[in-house]
């Protein structure tokens, strides 16, 4: 499946402008990738909402068993689950009015993508929310990564 259509930098930047992010499959284990991402997003001022039926609280935030249990609006649904879980998550993301479905590295589900697209929300696939934030807003350039940003604009210090 051609994924570049779901990695458009303009959509990525728009998703990063959202402030409330539900993280489906956020682990309480601080060595797991999902925990790295949750920690980082919280540090950078996002309100994170853990979705994990096996935990009560992660990173100081109450956990919800599913997306539909979350009170209030959600901007981005960030997914750290196996691909076969994605179609249901996409349906729930539509049900709660989320604006973006974000599928992390390797979470690739054609069916899930199509459900979200048909429901009218933007989908980002096989990208890491933390890395994309660091590329466009943060400090990724401090560790020698290729941000692909070419600009003579003076930024605010980060």
């Amino acid at each position: 499946m051609e994924l570049t259509a779901f990695q458009d930098p303009r959509i990525v930047r728009a998703a990063l402008d959202e402030r409330r992010i539900a993280i489906v499959g956020l682990s309480a284990n601080e060595l797991r990738a999902s925990h790295f991402v949750g920690f980082y997003l919280k540090r950078h001022g996002y309100e994170i909402v853990p979705v994990n039926p096996r935990e009560t609280s992660i990173l100081g935030h109450e956990c919800y068993p599913s997306l539909t249990d979350i009170p209030g609006p959600v901007g981005v649904v960030d997914v750290f689950r196996t691909p076969d879980a994605v179609p249901d998550i996409a349906r729930q993301a539509l049900a709660i009015g989320a604006r973006y479905l974000w599928l992390q590295f390797g979470v690739i589900s054609q069916e899930g993508i199509e459900i979200a697209k048909e429901g009218g929300i933007d989908v980002i696939v096989d990208r890491c929310l933390k890395i994309e934030h660091a590329r466009h807003v943060g400090r990724m350039h401090w560790l020698g990564f290729n941000t692909e940003v070419i600009s003579a604009e003076r930024r605010r210090p980060v």
Partner: protein, 428 residues
């Protein structure tokens, strides 16, 4: 305004990695001559060391001037990132060290820089890594040398000094058939002439000392990763499994396409310690601003000199792959359409004695052990750069007793030809 335009190579040579400094507005790349960085608060300090946040801790591991150079090289190469080192040899050592374990096996081209051949033979023996050298032109030889424990294939884009041109796509295919990455030393081509990753190479290493810096001022090296290799294919627990050297972090799962580079930096550079100095990084970054301009002139001059020498009756043979009768012409057309670099060898009929007479009579060419300077350089490999090699290894690397290596600079071609004629007139 940030844009989504795909900028050209010249633009990226000047801009990539170096945006205006946010605090002062300085437009040139600042030299951050500091060992260490004050943390905002204890939580930030812990987050940096845990790799949960991108932050500066200590200049052995990262430095903003070096990072600008790393991003520039990675951008030009088309990789996901780069890590720079104190030398090309240090970069190579670290690239190997990060992905190999004792008992692994490496298949390498035999036509390499002499220092690399020595490094592979002696370093790998001490690390209990098995090694096979193959003729880089012999694809069946590459295939036959691969074993169940082969974890890496290694070669130079343009062999030093024999001028072998690697069939990158074919050798990458052999590597990937066996679930192993291909690492290519692209020092002689630079990303302006060839981008091995676009042909399937997974890791590219550089001696930045040469054409990237371009002015013979600084020693340095770089490792660039394409981010494409699947380190979780079951054959690389050293990259994919939780690491004892970093409190149980699983680099590939946690950092995805950036996992190998994070491990290379946070573990290997940390432990081997061969960090690039910020001042050298500044000089390399400035050098790269003119890389495309310089490489065009290097190649134009090299082609003119190779052509002149190939028609000279005191010259037995010229091994510039850009000559139309070179056996490498089809590979040059495919991989190096703007020219196969500016380092090549030729053989004088009179062997070692003629070689020394020739070098003594030159005026413009500098007799020294380096390549890739704006100034033209000359050396006799058998008694210098490749001195530690046996006769058989010399032959495999394409070096005879009368072989002279030139690194053609960006002076006027007519002046360089005048100088070569002085050298040739001095011999029999």
């Amino acid at each position: 305004m940030s844009t989504d335009r795909e900028f050209g190579f010249h633009t990226r040579s000047v801009h990539a990695g170096s945006r205006p400094e946010p605090t002062t507005g300085a437009r040139a790349l600042p030299i951050y001559q500091t060992t260490s960085y004050v943390f905002e608060d204890p939580e930030s300090a812990a987050a940096y060391f845990n790799l949960q946040e991108y932050g500066n801790t200590y200049s052995r591991i990262m430095n903003p001037t070096v990072a600008a150079l790393e991003e520039r090289i990675a951008n030009l190469e088309g990789g996901v990132g780069a890590v720079c080192f104190a030398s090309g040899m240090a970069a190579q050592t670290a690239a190997f060290f990060t992905l190999l374990d004792p008992g692994d096996h490496v298949v390498s081209s035999a036509a390499l820089y002499g220092g690399t051949i020595s490094q592979l033979k002696h370093l790998f023996r001490k690390l209990s890594v098995e090694l096979s050298f193959v003729d880089p032109d012999d694809l069946d030889g590459w295939r036959a040398a691969v074993r169940p424990n082969t974890k890496l294939l290694f070669a130079e884009t343009i062999g030093n000094p024999g001028g072998n041109v690697l069939d990158i796509e074919a050798v990458a295919g052999i590597a990937h058939d066996h679930g192993a990455p291909l690492m290519v030393d692209n020092t002689f081509a630079t990303p302006f002439l060839c981008r091995p990753m676009s042909w399937g190479a997974d890791i590219v290493v550089y001696s930045a000392t040469k054409f990237l810096g371009g002015h013979g001022t600084s020693i340095g090296g770089a490792v660039v990763d394409s981010g494409e290799f699947d380190w979780s294919n079951g054959r690389f627990p050293v990259v994919a499994e939780p690491s004892n050297a970093y409190h149980g972090l699983a680099f590939h799962e946690t950092f995805g396409a950036y996992g190998y580079l994070m491990k290379l930096r946070a573990e290997t550079l940390r432990d081997l310690g061969a960090a690039m100095s910020p001042f050298n990084a500044f000089l390399f970054a400035q050098g790269i601003e003119t890389l495309p301009l310089r490489m065009r002139k290097h190649v134009e001059n090299a082609a003119a000199l190779a052509d002149h020498l190939s028609r000279h009756d005191k010259v037995l043979q010229v091994s510039y792959p850009g000559l139309s009768d070179s056996t490498y012409a089809p590979l040059v057309d495919k991989y190096l359409p703007d020219g196969p670099g500016a380092v090549f060898c030729f053989d004088l009929a009179g062997g070692r004695e003629d070689g020394q007479k020739f070098i003594r009579a030159l005026n413009l060419f500098s007799h020294l052990a380096n390549v890739g300077d704006a100034k033209s350089l000359v050396i006799h490999p058998a008694t210098t750069t490749h001195r530690q090699l046996s006769d058989a290894e010399l032959a495999a690397a394409g070096i005879g007793p009368g072989t002279i290596r030139l690194s053609v600079g960006i002076e006027d071609a007519e002046d360089l030809i005048w100088d070569l004629e002085r050298g040739l007139a001095a011999i029999g």
